[in-house]
Symmetry: C2
Subunit: 470 residues, 2 copies
Amino acid sequence: MSVKRKDLFVSIVGEENVKDSQAQLLAYSYDATANFQSKPDLVISPRDTEEIAGIVKICASEQIPIISRGSGTNLAAGTVPNQGGLIVLFNNMDEILELDMENLTITVQPGVITQNICDFVEDNGLFYPPDPSSMKISTIGGNVSENSGGLRGLKYGVTKDYVKAMTVVLPDGEILKLGGKLAKDVAGYDLMSLFVGSEGTLGIITEITLKLIPLPISKKTGIAYFNSLEDAAETVSAIIADKIIPVTLEFMDKGTIGAVEDFMKIGLPLDAEAMLLMEQDGNEEQVASDIQQMIRIAEQNGATSTAIASSNEEAEILKTGRRAALSALARKRPTTILEDATVPRSEIAKMVKAIQQIAVKYDVQISTFGHAGDGNLHPTCLTDVRDEEEMLRVEQALAEIFHIAIELGGTITGEHGVGEMKAPYLEWKLGTSGINVMKGIKQSIDPQNIMNPGKMFAKETKMRLVINNG
Amino acid sequence: MSVKRKDLFVSIVGEENVKDSQAQLLAYSYDATANFQSKPDLVISPRDTEEIAGIVKICASEQIPIISRGSGTNLAAGTVPNQGGLIVLFNNMDEILELDMENLTITVQPGVITQNICDFVEDNGLFYPPDPSSMKISTIGGNVSENSGGLRGLKYGVTKDYVKAMTVVLPDGEILKLGGKLAKDVAGYDLMSLFVGSEGTLGIITEITLKLIPLPISKKTGIAYFNSLEDAAETVSAIIADKIIPVTLEFMDKGTIGAVEDFMKIGLPLDAEAMLLMEQDGNEEQVASDIQQMIRIAEQNGATSTAIASSNEEAEILKTGRRAALSALARKRPTTILEDATVPRSEIAKMVKAIQQIAVKYDVQISTFGHAGDGNLHPTCLTDVRDEEEMLRVEQALAEIFHIAIELGGTITGEHGVGEMKAPYLEWKLGTSGINVMKGIKQSIDPQNIMNPGKMFAKETKMRLVINNG
């Protein structure tokens, strides 16, 4: 970036909050997504909303791309500055501003680590349910921009269900305040939901008020192994049909179980085709009754072994396997691609089988774990980005996974976002009309396309696959 | 409407589904909002999505306004055809299409009466929680277009929290399918939330998939009367602070209590300043414990009399008063204006006091009841539209109520919508930037402004009040 331009930014945030050494630019050239990289021109750490408004005004007049970035845990290349420009960090905006015990809300700056919010409110007997796996590292600003999910989505919903108010700096530098500490508000279009999950393409979120709920008193954990995917899927359906909505209902397939056992040596049954980890929270009697009933349902549906944790320590042991899933898989090959094709709950068995067949068809390694209760699966592909020929097969396999997910009434991404990586597939889900509506909105709010350009909207849509299953 | 134009519509839906006699046009010239009236040119009842697409294409090419209308229970003049045009009814599209017990969803056409959905799913052990007071008459399409609330909003949220998928006919006649039977979906902007509550200004919703939850097993009702508004408001705060989220927490002020007693003669305490009606649902022990604890909290906060219903019959008796509130008030004067200024829960006492002072200041009759748990109040103004001088004072009083609501961190409408009536006040809540973002979106999706024109966007914003409280 030219000295003159840099000086404009320095005049707003101070020398100490601007970085542009080659090492620093390199550090912000990628996120957690394999195989995407591009250097920004400058990295800036504003201290408040007004500074951000000033920065955006410069970018608007100079047409400089702006990429908001939390902790860079994004899995869809959503924070890679693929057209250069300015990375905006929130390390100077990481304060919890207010806990309102009367209205059950917390107001925070975007740079607060999500886990810190959870810990803080739990110390006050309250609960912020969204729990993306990255929550120990990721920021709430990132979570809101991505509408992050997590393990508790089935019972408690996702990030968007908890955003009550926000301050946004629009692409022209205007400051917009949306929402309030309100349970109901129908004054105008639901702009807040539009900004949640917009991946930094419509503006910069600079303050967030979140809804909290009372902390459940009790929690219990159970586990079940199955010799067939269908039995596990039947168990999921039967639990819901029995009117139980568990807080988590996690799934691992055979490949994942094997990888975990290989890594941890904790005695997992290597012949099992599927594992379900179940948790319920609420008041004590209800939790005890629900977890027993879920295990009973698993047994009725062919579970080969089951267990209920009788203490927190035992619960931690049961959870070890699922927690280690990604690390256990990731150590096997140089590159891990964590996908999140999502289907209706009723289609889980079909989806997992299809993934296994696709892996064989393209001769790639894919194991699947994920959130069975809400159909949010994580097919995890183990590969090596340096092997171009294999990467081509990986791409074909993933495209076919997206295709099947949509065929089954699902979506190309349940909780990771579109970013640059999935943009070419978005039209498969939304159709031309849907993409056009989105483009119109983007154009109306960000006519110069300075907000995270090259994300969400692809230059070219991938050809829709024609798969002959016959 | 010219014969030629009419014939175009007849050719799509058949003669029997088009109305244009003067009596018929008059019948669709108003909704439940006092003092707004304007005749449409034609009333049409399409039979499916494709017919609606055909109708919209004609309207687009001929620039004919289209007003979607459910049962016309709108309270913000949202369905009054103030620029003439075509009223689209859904009386031929009132089928429940599918109940999916595995994914816990129901798919319906927009013309289904909301109460019928509730009854149907309850017969299957499931629960659709949003319960606008109009639900016995209003259609689900209307509820979705208005993002209707209801009594259970505090615990269960509002309509938008239950919409999982929809089919929309866009203003160019294209058919757009959004969402799915999915707990998580972050593929692109949240267009579904944009259409929910957009009051027919962005397209016509022609099919809706709703999320269901298991039906709570048990329910209990309690009631408490207070000699001061503050005691009632303290009780609300203390209940929440005690980590109880009741299913309903309804409020009536002295004026409403008096009107109900006058109407029903059921022995309500006429000296009480406030009533709180409390309900909890869930499993039996929890419900019993919560309702006892809520009544205990009311007593600790100065309740002068309390009661817990020991049977369903007793519960119905306790609920009679609140249920009769609107009818009891409405019979007093020729015109009833039901408002829905909404504030954070912590500001209820201040808001109700302010409403009482405003009524005195402008010498108008306003009583307040509403949903205390979520701060959604219904100041109800009793007046006579034929008295122009009084109507001027009513308008001033309501404007001041909106002003105070916003000052207290609230909104001009919690659940009724903006329509034509509140459009001039919307900028008070959203600011110029917010209105501009909305206008940009409207312009990008409906560039000809044929979808419910004259709603949501005002020709002129009312001047912001300057109130000297000193």
